[in-house]
């Protein structure tokens, strides 16, 4: 361990450690551990311009918070950190509200569907398995693609070739669908069907897995809808803020699993960490950043795979169905 960090160790496990009791997770945890995790994930999210849910939710599960509570409580944390970014892009007028609104039509519906599905899986005692399997699939595929892409770009740059990839063609089959709409700010003319579809997928995945979905949404908007870089981040944040806020609300109403205290600690760490992360990213090359993020995403995916495959310590587990 780096000696600079050793100074902070007493805060985590020494006599200065401040234990707090998480009311919904039903677990005493160290306050500084949660603030530190929020800071670290916030730093990463600021560095890469992502919400960080796909790293934060797994981390909470790894420290012993039940997957159900982790997913439900990360939603407000993502809403908070993404709202900060949303306001920033709003001031810079780089949000396409018309496109964001159309995405939301699908997004809200997807979120509601996701929370319903979450409740259903929990009743079937298969929620943890589903979350585990989804994270393995999602994170290892996305991680592998990111690693591959960034290594290829790095090699290309070394050979002295053009650093940018081939620009995707201006038309694909999605552009042949009906219900065409013109989005002036993004300067695109696309069918409403893929817009709703993307919103639906992001809303659904976000509610079930506790991720904002920015790392899926931004590539989808670029590749499928040809949304220009000027509006893509701000518009994706508009969708994420609202789907995550709705997910918080629905999880609170349907499952009573949102731990507000846990969310608050993560938020405080998160918004502060994001500021430092954003500064660091300005001094780092884009391809390096992508490679780093790809490796991180892939590693988390592998950890989930390991947990699914290795023989559990105890084959039996309890779940409280109904108290007094």
């Amino acid at each position: 361990m780096h000696p600079a960090f050793r100074r902070f160790l007493p805060l985590v496990d020494g006599r200065f450690a401040l234990q707090i009791y998480l009311p919904i997770a039903d677990l005493p945890v160290n306050m500084f551990l949660l603030l530190g995790m929020g800071l670290a994930i916030g730093y990463i999210s600021g560095m890469f311009g992502i919400g960080g849910g796909f790293l934060l939710t797994p981390l909470l599960i790894f420290i012993g918070i039940s997957p159900a509570v982790a997913v439900a409580s990360v939603s407000p944390q993502i809403a908070a950190s993404v709202f900060t970014g949303f306001l920033y892009y709003w001031r810079r007028r780089s949000i396409d509200f018309a496109l964001g609104g159309m995405l939301l039509v699908g997004g809200i519906f997807g979120t509601a569907l996701g929370v319903w599905f979450f409740t259903f899986l929990r009743a079937m005692d298969q929620l943890d398995l589903f979350i585990g399997l989804s994270y393995v699939t999602l994170l290892s595929i996305v991680g592998a693609i990111m690693i591959y892409e960034s290594i290829r770009a790095e090699l290309r740059a070394r050979r002295g070739g053009p650093a940018t990839l081939r620009r995707p063609g201006s038309h694909n089959w999605l552009h042949g669908l009906p219900f065409k709409l013109r989005f002036k700010r993004s300067k695109i003319y696309v069918s409403a069907i893929p817009v709703w579809g993307i919103g639906l997928i992001i809303g659904f995945v976000g509610a079930v897995l506790g991720i904002g979905g920015g790392f899926l949404l931004v590539p989808m908007l670029i590749y499928f809808l040809r949304v220009p870089t000027a509006t893509v981040i701000g518009t994706s944040m508009m969708l994420t803020v609202i789907t995550m806020a709705s997910a918080t609300l629905l999880h609170a109403v349907d499952n009573h699993l949102v731990d507000a205290l846990l969310a608050l600690l993560l938020m405080i760490g998160g918004v502060i960490g994001a500021q430092f992360g954003a500064r660091t990213s300005q001094n780092m090359r884009g391809e390096r950043l992508r490679l780093l993020l790809g490796l991180m995403v892939f590693a988390v995916g592998m950890r989930f795979a390991y947990d699914l495959v290795v023989t559990p310590e105890d084959l039996y587990s309890l779940r409280l169905v109904r108290g007094q």
Binding site: A79, A80, S81, V310, P312, D314
Partner: protein
Amino acid sequence: MMRRAALALAILCIAAMPTAAERLVISLSNARVGVTSSFTGEDLVLFGTIEPDQGKTLMPSGYDLVVTVSGPPESTRTRRKARVLGIWVNVDTREFVNVPSYLAILSNRPVAAIASQQVLRRQQIGLAYTLLTQRIGPDTADTVTNDPFRMSFVRLKEQQHLYREAPEGVTFLTPTVFRAAIPLPANAPNGTYAIDVKLFARGALLARAGSALEVIKTGFEQYVADRAQHDGLLYGLGTTAMALAIGWLASVVFRRD
């Protein structure tokens, strides 16, 4: 004739004597336990004496005591994992219906030494003999003691310190004055806990007495948990508003442009 009648009367008196000779008088150190977030568990103390009934005398020694404390009923699912296509999946679940959320059996020596199996079963004394009903199809029933789900349920509850059998939990201060320490862990659920004290001698139940204690969680964390459970909508709106407020605050404090 007279002699035979006198003998019968004497036998009758001896047979009836043990059930009527003793009385239990018990008292709890505190009947209400307020649990705050800093609560790390506590031992409640139950004191009691064995009193003779009017005109009767007590045995000089040889009494046994069993104190059973059971928490408010709850329903819990026990799930079993098995390997399916290389990964571990919950393949089987059993629901335990209205079983004690907390169960402590305190005695002065192992319950198996106090009374016979039949008596223990009839009086539901000990983890092995307490009724733990499972939902089996449309019905509910208890299973045999060595049913794997029942055993795992009891074992997991013991790991959570919610179920326990303490063969040294009751100590005799004098042959007739006893004290029992009721261990309440930090995760003891809210509600009324029934206390059942049973007095045995030579394997027979002589007397019993009941009491109750109340566990009430207080403090900020419990308030949050209550609101989450009972006012889901308001709680959700509050949490969402908090998230947006913090996001907005960060954008003001760390304004980059």
